[in-house]
């Protein structure tokens, strides 16, 4: 009954005046940015984050969540039409999607991708609606040792599951955590503030986010004249796309399996949609009656990857809200927006801000319907508009980044910070370091730091034993060790594989 009341109040808030408008606006902008290759989901949400500064918490979060949901849809369009995934989570879709386009069946592929995305996303947010209360109740039992370890998990998991060098990703995460510890300590001391008042509240997350995700990408894009070189003109056919919708529900087991997998991966801190999409794709191929068709234009493959990467968003958002640990790069930005609005993520948020939490989930479900409409209407038209010259895109996005960062505190200090992190982020990407790990670190450091100090204050002299005597803590430590060993093994295997391949 309590859940029903929360859902009703959330629905009322989501449908209220400006919230629905921001959902529509976020969906439209998200599709546009998502369909622009080179602009990742993290970058899309980061570049639009400053627009939420003066919105109400619910409107701001609904706007960003709509962008987040839409980016993955938009990314599938260019993956299928141009063999250029709009975001990394659409890379698996490009394999079969573009093969179908070359066979003249792009409308069918687009229809299947849009329907699979909508079903995966909707099921995922419905699960979130029903399960977030229970997950928050479990998380309420977490003490400072568990929260400290979960915060560290975000960085560890990126190292173990990410594509780059384990050492470099972990170094990036440690660097981010160290940067995040600058500022006033819970003990009242000022730590590494370099004599400037701007650092007393710590290094602001927004300049780091925009620098690492947007500015570094723009510097990289400067090497090209256009974001995408168009290969051919594709005529529009909305009816054929709608007919393609039927391809997804025709594979109910694939849909349910991919949704479950997507949600599970989303619940793992920092794992993200790319992992969900590739895992689901691989599993679908292993279980398929026609595994040889994968990579040559299999609709099953498209359904598996698109369902999973959209289902991941519900899990990622749940873990971000309930534990304060981002489930993906884009939810790290949403978490940044939440703290910027003065709200503290954590298990209490469900009971203390039910209208916000349930309103956000209801709006995310509504966004799925909006996505389908936008994707069908604009899908093909956008692919021909995507040959954007970088000489127009870079100046505009760079100015938006500078103004957006400045507007945070009306301080040029933040703009210089953003540019510094942008340049550093560019070199990090070129040399195999992880910008996502730095951002995760900066976001998670204050949580980890304050929880470690709380552990010392609560458990006294033998505080470090608490990590091993509390069962959940021990379980998390074992999980982290497992991740670390997995990463080490993967790193040892990789040079051998490369040598064999060459």
């Amino acid at each position: 009954m309590e859940l029903l009341n929360h859902v009703m109040s959330g629905l009322e808030a989501a449908l209220g005046g400006d919230t629905i408008l921001f959902a529509v606006l976020g969906s439209a902008l998200g599709i546009l940015v998502g369909a622009t290759p080179g602009l990742s989901s993290g970058m899309a949400v980061a570049v639009l984050l400053p627009l939420t500064f003066t919105m109400s918490p619910l409107s701001g979060l609904v706007f960003l969540t709509s962008v987040y949901v839409a980016v993955t849809y938009g990314g599938a369009i260019t993956a299928i039409m141009l063999n250029t995934p709009g975001a990394p989570e659409n890379a698996a879709t490009a394999r079969d999607g573009y093969a179908l386009t070359r066979q003249g069946r792009s409308s069918q592929a687009l229809g299947a991708a849009i329907a699979a995305s909508a079903i995966g996303g909707t099921l995922s947010y419905f699960m979130m609606l029903l399960g977030i209360g229970a997950i928050a109740s479990v998380a309420l039992g977490f003490g400072p040792t568990e929260i400290f370890l979960v915060a560290l998990c975000g960085v560890m998991i990126l190292g173990a599951l990410g594509g780059g060098s384990l050492i470099k990703v972990l170094a990036s995460g440690m660097f981010g955590l160290l940067v995040g510890t600058v500022g006033m300590v819970p003990t009242g001391e000022w730590r590494a503030t370099f004599g400037t008042m701007y650092l007393v509240e710590g290094v602001q997350v927004v300049p780091v986010l925009i620098g690492m995700f947007v500015v570094s990408e723009l510097i990289e894009l400067a090497s090209r004249d256009r974001v995408v070189e168009m290969r051919k003109h594709v005529p529009g056919d909305v009816r054929a796309i709608v007919r393609g919708f039927g391809e997804a529900p025709r594979r109910p087991f694939n849909i349910l399996r991919s949704t479950g997998l997507g949600i599970l991966v989303g619940l793992i801190p920092a794992a993200g949609g790319t992992l969900a999409s590739f895992t689901s794709y691989s599993l679908a191929r292993r279980l398929s009656k026609q595994p040889e068709a994968y990579g040559k234009g299999s609709l099953e493959g498209i359904v598996a990857s698109e369902t999973a990467n959209n289902a991941c968003s519900g899990g990622a958002l749940t873990v971000s809200l309930v534990l304060g640990v981002p489930g993906s790069v884009a939810t790290a930005v949403i978490l940044g927006a939440l703290t910027m609005q003065g709200l503290q993520p954590g298990p209490q948020i469900v009971s203390q801000q039910p209208v916000l939490v349930y309103g956000l989930i209801c709006a995310a479900i509504l966004s799925q319907a909006l996505m389908v409409i936008f994707a069908v209407i604009t899908g093909r038209a956008m692919t021909s508009a995507l040959a954007i010259p970088t000489r127009m895109l870079i100046p505009v996005l760079l100015m938006l980044s500078i103004f957006g960062t400045y507007a945070l505190r009306n301080a040029m200090f933040d703009v210089w910070t953003m540019l510094a992190f942008g340049v550093l982020g560019f070199f990090m990407k070129r040399h195999g370091y992880s910008t996502a790990a730095v951002v995760m670190g900066v976001i998670l450091a204050p949580v980890a730091d304050s929880e470690l100090i709380r552990t010392m204050q609560i458990f006294g002299n033998g505080w470090y034993t608490a990590f091993f005597t509390r069962p959940v803590s021990l379980l998390i430590i074992l999980g982290m060790l497992g991740c670390f060993l997995h990463g080490l093994l993967k790193a040892r295997r990789r040079p051998r594989v490369v040598e064999e391949a060459s």
């Binding site: 160290l178 003990t187 127009m392 103004f403 550093l424 980890a448």
Partner: protein, 151 residues
């Protein structure tokens, strides 16, 4: 050391410099305030040492980024340098003039030569951003030269 590049040194040198500067500032803290950053710094230094060992053993030699042509390097440098130069005069120029000049300079540096685009995009961006941030988001963007002209 044949694969050593200046670009490859930027990240480790930045991380090391930051860690040293951090402790130069934070050496006198209490145990509680010192423990977490100390553990992170030690972990970071260990990882960087591991990275150096890996580099010396040429494990990463296949992952070196492609050599960048001088033309591309110049374009990338200008994307950062032009806004930085104009930002130094942020208060004097004001937000509107800053955007107008920065967009125009960046477009030119990236190879735009069409007069319509060079006229419309800087002006359109300046008007749109100024209205969006000053009017809608209530940011205190300085008026600068525009204020002098209006008054």
């Amino acid at each position: 050391m044949k694969n050593l590049s200046v670009g490859g040194l930027v990240v480790p040198v930045t991380m090391l410099s930051f860690t040293l500067a951090y402790w130069w500032q934070a050496y006198g803290l209490s145990f509680e305030a010192r423990l977490f950053p100390l553990a992170l710094s030690l972990a970071l230094l260990t990882l960087m040492a591991g990275n150096l060992v890996q580099f010396l053993r040429h494990r990463d030699s296949r992952q070196q980024p492609e050599k960048t042509s001088r033309h591309i390097a110049r374009r990338r440098a200008l994307v950062v340098a032009l806004p930085v130069l104009l930002l130094l005069a942020w208060s004097q120029l004001g937000g509107f003039v800053f955007v107008w000049l920065a967009v125009l300079a960046l477009q030119w540096a990236l190879g735009e030569r069409r007069p319509i685009s060079l006229a419309a995009l800087p002006l359109g961006s300046a008007v749109a951003l100024y209205l969006l941030f000053s009017t809608l988001l209530h940011a205190r963007v300085p008026m600068g030269l525009l204020g002098v002209l209006v008054n």
